[in-house]
């Protein structure tokens, strides 16, 4: 995999992970181009795109688009399922994940991604193992914040801004058990 992008229906980037060395300028140009192209596509259209010499595989979950770039000889369907597995992981971790979770905890989303894909290749495909690795690292965090005096710990929760689109769970409850 060459890179992965998450962006909202409004075209706002929510996550970007680059597995090939590219300059800042190129990254910006690529994400701008792709966000535009993908947002312009109709819902019933093919999830695959040819873009330059790459294959783009994308899927929309509620208000979020997940988009991966792979090489031409790669298997597009399995990439689609990589996206889905990532969404499942996010869902399991956050508990019925919605866009808001990813906005406010994007570093967590990155940590999960790094346990799942490493250097552009699937690192661990067992859901249990990925979550175990994340939880272990998180545990460390909680134990430490426990030791801190309460008044020093930087706040834990912020009231969610009420915006309809960002609060829809990205996997509808039915889809978790049997996605199409």
């Amino acid at each position: 995999m060459q890179f992965m992008l998450l962006f909202s229906r409004q075209g706002k980037l929510r996550l970007q992970k680059w597995y090939v060395p590219l300059s800042d300028k190129e990254r910006k140009k690529i994400s701008r181009d792709l966000v535009q192209t993908i947002l312009a596509r109709k819902p019933k259209m093919c999830s695959f795109l040819e873009w330059r010499d790459l294959k783009i595989v994308y899927k929309r979950y509620a208000s979020l688009y997940f988009c991966c770039a792979v090489e031409d000889q790669d298997n597009e369907l399995i990439t689609l399922e990589i996206i889905h597995r990532y969404v499942e992981l996010l869902d399991k971790y956050f508990g019925s994940v919605c866009e808001l979770d990813i906005i406010f905890n994007f570093e967590k989303a990155y940590f999960i991604l790094d346990e799942f894909l490493l250097g552009g290749e699937a690192q661990e495909t067992s859901k249990k193992n990925v979550l175990k690795a994340i939880e272990q690292a998180d545990l460390l965090q909680e134990m430490r914040s426990f030791l801190q005096p309460v008044w020093l710990s930087v706040s834990t929760s912020a009231p969610r801004p009420v915006s309809a689109s960002v609060q829809i769970p990205i996997i509808p409850p039915i889809a978790v058990s049997r996605p199409g």
Partner: protein
Amino acid sequence: MSDVVEKTLTALPSLLSLDSQPGSAKLSSTSKLGNLVRGITELTSKHEEEKLIQRELASIKEQVSSPNTSMRQMKELMVRAIYCEMLGYEASFSYIHAIKLAQQGTALEKRVGYLAVSLFLNESHELLLLLVNTVLKDLQSTNLIEVCMALTVVSQMFPKDMIPAILPLVEEKLNHQKEIIRRKAVLALYKFYLIAPNQVQHIHNKFRKALCDKDPGVMTASLHIYLQMIQENPEGYKDLTASFVTILKQVVGGKLPMDFNYHSVPAPWLQIQLLRILSALGKNDQSTSEIMYDVLDESLRRAEMNHNITYAILYECVKCIYTIHPKSDLLEKAAKCIGNFVLSPKINLKYLGLKALTYVVQQDPKLALQHQMTIIECLDHPDLIIKRETLELLFRITNAQNVTVIVEKMLDFLRVSTDDYTTIDLVGKVAELAEKYAPDNEWFIETMNTVFSVGGDMMQPDIPNSFLKLLSEGFDSVEEDRKLRLFAVDSYVSLLQGEPGKLPQRFLQVISWVLGEYSHLRAELQPSTVMRLLSKLLDTKNTSSETKTWVLMTMTKLCEGAAGVSVAQEVSEAYSSSLDTVLRQRAQELQHLSQDSELRARVVPRDAGLEPLEVDSSLSFLDGFVSEALAAGAAPYKPPHQRQEELAQAKALSLEPYGLSLPISISSCSIADRQSPTLLSMSSGLSGDSTDLSHKGGSTTLKLDGVKRVWGKEGYLAQREPVEETAQVEVPSPFRSPSQQAEADSSHSQTPTPVPTPEPTQERQQLASSLFVGLSSQSSVCLMGKSESAPQRFKRKAKSPSSSSGASEQISNSLVSAPSTVDNLLCDNLLDANISSELAVSSPTQTSRLSQSLTTANGTCDVELTNTKGSNPSLIRDISVAVAADSTPHEDPDKPKDLCLSSHLPAELSGFSHSEITPLCSNQSLDLSACHVQQKDSLVLVVFIYNSSYSDIQQILLELDSDDLEVSGVCGSPVQEVGSQSVAVCQYSLSVKRPSVHVEVGGMVSYQLPVGTPQSAQFSYRLPLTSFIRPLTLSTEEYGTMWLAFSHDTKQNLTLINAGHESLAATLNVLKKKLQLHIVEIIGLEGIVACRLLQDQPCLMHCRVHAGTLAVWLRSPVPDLPDCLMYYCQRALQEH
């Protein structure tokens, strides 16, 4: 203090609400990030956002650089900086702080620090060097989480040069008790393998251990490395095939733990990875393929659930089945599977179906026929991506009969496509098809006109070049040439009379060149008329100065008669003061030549384009000038590298950084080497004083490929006969496509969304019959295969006729002699594929690949036969190359043994040590073996040719070739014939061109039996680089000066042989003995060693005992040599 209070206050409400809001724990974002995010969502304009972020960045910047900021606050600042960067605002000031955070923070601050580093920086960023120490420290940490973090960041990015520093630590982690650490270590090594394969060569054994790891996750991770290595060198891993098959069997059989299941499919990622590996292993290898038939069959059978993930596996299975050696019932099942994809209502599956079809039609064009109606539907699909993939499929099945329809469809697509990348790609394909299968002149020229106008200035420059080459070289029939050129001239004149301003620059350049060369063919067309049309171009604002140059050159060719001369004068006056020097030059030429018609006739002779010209790339015409200059006391010319070395030696200073700025030697710009004529046109434009080149520049730029040219200081030299055989073109036979009205109807089909017609089915059927013509019956396919009936025009002959004839001869061999029906079937299949490739395959390279696969398949057949016969399996056991020969079984009880062969070693070599004699290839009449002999100043490859048949073998021709090595014959006359049951010996001297750990020489032997057709066989011979290493004797002072002069180096820590005080000496002695190095001197804990790569390429080694290891530093002027030698040093010490 106020900061703390403020924080407490902001934290308070959330703390209070903590109990009442159970789901809020997951929103553990820092409040400042929360504020920022909320702030942004409340904004209404981009401008406001920018202001807000700039303010935010300024505050972050201030805080990060403050000494009072704790690491904890720093972590929070980094998160905000990442967020700002994600929104597209630069926060480069925070990069260094991210590194600092990774370095100094506690575990979880570190985690954010590493994350920020991996998001901010890329592999080549210089700040990454500062991370090396942190990684080193964390790799040694006792905290597993820290080790994990370090490995994670290393697997994503690491400076290539620093790999040796952490490699031992990462290797160590392969044995770690925690599987997550082992897994990450494997992936880190995978990353290293990708960016610096030489560095991890020595740990291949450990990869095998990872493959056998008890944890499936670690095993899966190791497959990434294996896939990569096997794709690069399938021969090296054939022995693992059975293991991969076993793993896949277990996975498919559901033997893995349940949590590797994905939607109740067992470990799909693992399955797909294994299928990819298997297809790389089984490609062109029958015996390996046979091992995997069962498991592939099972995979196909098991994947029955209707879910994307099963389709993903099926797709990979189908690809694998069509890649490996074919088996008919598997192919049948795979074809059925493709049908399921193509016919699926799900658009994603349909797309993959088309992709799979595109992949397999090269082998089985008939498969496209089964799905023709679906393909037609897809051509009209509203989603462009489906359309595009369908065109790709059609491109693969194009033949002379359906070319007009397919090209029309492609052009339709091009007219609506807005994506540059697609346009460039498709335009190239149309041009290729047009050139290959054009039914007639008019169609060809018109299609190319569309290509040029649609492709515009984006298309690959070789399209106009090869078009003009085709036009100028012509065919065998003079009359056809004339007609084609005449048509082109007519077409272009009418284009120029229209609105030439809208045409792309490249097209205008083509037009002006063609008019300059061929407008005289149209007798009624006055040159002055053409010149007027062209001068209109000069006045157009959009015309680029490059195009203007072309136009001026054309005018130079055309300026005849009073009217022409007057236009020429007018134009040349206008441009002789142009600021563009090239343009001014052309204008001057035009002015002079238009006045002197005699000179013009000599300089730009009409039809000179047909004469092959030669470029004297060595600039030998300057020899006189050079010798005069030398006689007058000038310093002799030295190539830049020599100058650099001498300078370095004189001053004992390394001048490496300045290497690039030294002038490039003229000989390295040899014009004949250039592939792209456009480049030449530039260089000819620059050489202002060589008039003769410049005013023919226009024509030279177009047909340099394979054409030589002579020019000297006196103008044109006598034109010689071409040395090289220029590409020839076959006589085109007049042929009219039956579906030409489709082309006439182009305006109708041009509408992007087709209007539903009353009889859509019928129309589609009609389209189908025109699209799939030529594929429909076997007989027509065969017909197309024969050149005499093929209506292909412009067909270029293959560059090396010998190889293709060889391939076809091998086909006939196998057809005649293949004993079993199975073999017959396979051969038929292959033959079929080969013939159909004539029409369906796009490029000649693919054809050659097919015939290659044929050879290989045939060869393995043969080996198989010999094996079962069991006459001498040991002789052929290790043959890794395919042998092409008759497959007739031939009893031959006594084959030569090594012992007998070594007695045939030439007397002058018998004193030296020689390697084991290894068999190269064998068939029923010839056995080839080889060994290499290391002499003091050379390495000799000895090839033994043993004639095992009972008749003499004649006309033996042994050809060796290698990318890595220079091969030259040692004996005076090469072996020509070998008597029955006797041995002939050939010797070759080898030297290294390009060092690599193993160097390989490939070869081919061809010979003639008294009865029968000529035979041939291929082989290859691999030898380690150490065979070329010799000691280099020099003094410590000499060593010192040389050391500074060499630019390529590598450093690594090696194991020290433990022998008390004498450790260093003992270690160096081992190296000396095993690798033939020369120990220059040992001073205390340091030692210097020297060796040379034959003939005289030095490599110096500096060793130092440090903390129980041997720090080795190798330097050489030859790239890759230090790396390779390091590999051998490491091995030598490990083996000890």
